[in-house]
Symmetry: C3
Subunit: 123 residues, 3 copies
């Protein structure tokens, strides 16, 4: 059964400007691991924007209860580049309260538009 769904679309330019303008924003939105690629270099604004879209979509799927901390959800990718969430703290508490057992996520970025969708499922 589906608990909730979320979609988010983020224009990359706007997001990159916000990151550049607001000191500390990157650290508030992303874990240290998220800010680097698997080879250790800095992640592009496009890729960060897609991860932010995923976190927004996840929050929507959980009903946007407020009080959730952005870095309590982390987007990781497996060997094949497939994204998945690891979550803890405020996000885990919200998800557990809703009976969420599986979280499906997909990302897209192309031509300046980053987007993500999330489906939270229970047993």
């Amino acid at each position: 059964m589906i608990v909730g769904v979320g979609i988010d679309v983020v224009p990359v330019e706007r997001f990159a400007r916000a990151l550049a303008r607001t000191g500390g924003l990157a650290d508030r939105l992303f874990t240290a691991d998220e800010q680097r690629t698997s080879t250790g270099g800095p992640r592009t604004a496009e890729s960060l924007a897609a991860r932010f879209a995923a976190k927004e979509a996840f929050a929507k799927a959980l009903g946007s209860p407020g009080g959730m901390i952005w870095i309590d959800s982390e987007v990781r990718t497996d060997d094949r580049g497939r994204p998945y969430f690891v979550y803890s703290g405020t996000v885990l508490a919200t998800a557990t309260g809703l009976g969420v057992e599986r979280v499906h996520v997909s990302l897209s970025h192309d031509g300046g538009i980053a987007s993500a969708m999330v489906i939270a499922e229970t047993a």
Copy 2:
């Protein structure tokens, strides 16, 4: 089980121009409640575009059978801003015929792009 899914992306500018150009279009697409915010002011073009995307996505999730009236589905938001559908008439008849029991919807608007996704589920 999922009965159908829908996605829709609406460039806000195009949609705003269509609303301005076509007399009566707003009233054909949106209920009186949808045209106002919770504080009673007029809803922005961006927010209306997201609601239209949601109605389009809902129609797609129901297989776009034709004959559905736009204002037979209404997007409402709960206390936390989470969107949900209330539907009646032609839309209710279509959904009931397909065995739809739950409708999940999510909206997004940012930087001139409004979008929505819908999943229609049965028991």
Copy 3:
């Protein structure tokens, strides 16, 4: 139960340029049937871009295992214009291996932005 989800957003202009620039790309991405409309005319770049987004979203929903051939999935539309996938070969093998029994897809194109979402479900 949901096996995987996929979203993809494709700027139509970029996609049209890629098709024009790269000889044989259309034939690598689309079956002969996909390249024509139901009335036999050539399909527009916008409509092809949406179909490509659908194939990308489907690949993501299957975990992007690599080795899948684009024309092993084909987007068709029923009498009412509702899209669905017919798939074979590499895509069928991947889907079968994951226990996929139903594939839901939705397309959107408007104002230069083509997008698609896919949900792969098991029994």
